[in-house]
Amino acid sequence: MTTQVSESNKTNSLFSSKNPLHLTIGILLITTVLVTLGNLLFPEGSALHVSDYTVSLLGKYLCYALLALAVDLVWGYCGILSLGHGAFFTLGGYAMGMYLMRQIGDRGVYGNPDLPDFMVFLNWTELPWFWAGSDSVLWMVCMVFLGPGLLAFIFGSLAFRSRVSGVYLSIMTQAMTYALMLAFFRNEMGFGGNNGLTDFKEIFGFSLQSPSTKLSLFIATAIALAIAYGICHFIVNSKMGRVVTAIRDAESRVRFVGYKPEHYKVWIFVVSAMLAGLAGALYVPQVGIINPGEFSPLNSIEMVIWVAVGGRNSLYGAIIGAVLVSYAKTRFTAIMPEAWLFALGGLFVLVTLLLPKGIAGLLPTIKQRLITKKDAPDTQQKGAKL
């Protein structure tokens, strides 16, 4: 056989530019080290000092970035436009919140060693069954993944097996998160009603107020994000990634090749939900509260906008999008909070019209411009021959 079909060639040309693994993780870890050093070594007032407030803020952004990765995995790669990923994020957050509530012990307002304050307030005398075990770290870690994963599995199995897709699916995901919001608002649900879970004191025995805990949480989030990025990178570059892309572009055709798209969709939906749950769990100790407002359909839409801005179908794009839009939100809401939603909507329209591939779609173009300027014009991209 004289044909030269090298697989490495393919992998290089197609993917490395889209999802640079080492570069992204490298930048992420270097940033983390710099922030850590800036926080620990440089005194307040120094130009290189990173305040505790900034550390917490960055930690929050990284949670959003992890969440954006989850959304990108299902939307960018598999074409499932989920407008309900906030539900998975919030469930993960509640799992962590329950654990943190139990950590309060008898230091609550009512000083009840067994029951969280809101239960005492409701005149409950014992823990509801679904709070059993919530004081154990292992339980918390399991629930962070199991809660969102199970919901995604049930929802996905029902929706994908009956071949619901497109707008209908998106509306169903919105309805799902909205229904959960209404449910969690009710006191009888046993999750603290509209106040949610808050007034946390400690995590794993470390005070949540102390700067070192805040820094540790930030570092833990960065590491979680790096690992999640690695996992997503592995998935999208495996044959699974190709099947899922094929499903996105021509689902019915995939069936005639022998794959069951619904299995793939459920699987990737569950993985994505678990990543979102992890993001929620890391978020709660850093912001100190979790309440049903996080289920708000608006939040889920905002996540999709992060990915659209950063560039769907690009993993690092999702991270960039989440961080940039969240930063913009922080700045914007400080000046004129009531206008933020308009700004967000405007941003979405602009990106859809002008940058359909998002910021990540812009980078290769810029890179190529630079290269073609430097090199002779005949060193065009290989595909240009067609």
């Binding site: 572009d249 005639f256 022998g258 069951k260 595909g383």
Partner: protein
């Protein structure tokens, strides 16, 4: 709406082997299908022998594509029987199960995975386990790479193998879809209008390829290009208004008065 019978033995054991002791690999018996009262298939009977190359002709709207939809599980008939070999009831299986059982299809309108490269299109179509965990940890074996290279060579897309399939010309997409079909190594190939958009030379190559496949595989070809049909046909079935009007060699068909009246008549003026 679709079959979701958990634990059907046919899905559990991935290796469906059709029982072809009677020499027939595909039974289509008394199949009826109507769309809003319009009878697209009307008491249709068709038997395809193991290893046979069968041409299916018929005017636009005769029901050729619909028949393929029924065989591959895309559309369920209102009544009738469709089986793979004697025992495997295709009406109990969904599209992906039918594909894995060994019935491959090339669509009338070429449909390839546009964002994936030519190479990847063929990779995904390769025969083998189509489950999630395999997909996650799958690495192409040397043998599989050779097979892909061989197919790329056969379909003449070696130079284009790393292009996104969406950038191929119409004719090249036709070839790619044929390549995907070859990669799946099906027992039965359903080929809907393979030479539309191909040059004369390419048409000849397709004819050669399809005839060489017959014997080891059973091939059903739908085509309007009569010269092409003549060049490959051994046995031809004529479909008319959803039913088989005549069957036989090309010369038998051409001299069949019914056929002349409804089909060839129009074409030959």
């Amino acid at each position: 709406m679709n079959t979701d019978k958990a634990g059907t033995p046919l899905t559990a054991s991935e290796n469906i082997v059709p029982d072809t002791r009677h020499g027939v690999i595909l039974y289509v018996e008394d199949v009826n299908l109507s769309f809003d009262g319009f009878k697209a298939l009307n008491n249709l009977n068709l038997y395809i022998n193991d290893g046979e190359l069968r041409c299916l002709i018929g005017a636009n709207g005769a029901g050729k594509t619909t028949l393929m939809d029924v065989i591959t599980g895309k559309t369920r008939p209102d009544s009738g029987k469709v089986s793979f070999g004697q025992q495997v009831d295709l009406l109990q299986l969904d599209e992906s199960e039918i594909a894995r059982a060994g019935i491959g299809r090339k669509f009338q309108k070429p449909t390839v995975f546009e964002e994936l490269t030519v190479f990847e299109n063929i990779e995904l179509s390769l025969k083998g386990d189509k489950g999630i965990w395999t997909a996650l940890f799958h690495k192409l074996s040397g043998e599989q790479k050779d097979r892909i290279a061989e197919i790329l060579h056969t379909i003449g897309l070696v130079a284009e193998c790393h292009y996104p399939a969406g950038r191929l010309s119409h004719g090249q997409k036709q070839w790619l879809e044929i390549g995907m079909l070859l990669a799946a190594e099906p027992r039965v190939l359903l080929v809907d209008e393979p030479v539309a958009g191909m040059t004369g030379q390419e048409t000849e190559r397709t004819a050669e390829l399809l005839t060489s496949l017959a014997g080891k595989h059973s091939v059903i070809v739908v085509e309007h290009d009569m010269a092409f049909v003549r060049s490959i046909a051994r046995k031809v079935s004529v479909l008319h208004q959803g039913t088989v009007l005549a069957e036989g060699t090309m010369s038998e068909i051409q001299s069949n008065p019914d056929v002349i009246k409804v089909y060839l008549g129009e074409e030959q003026g």
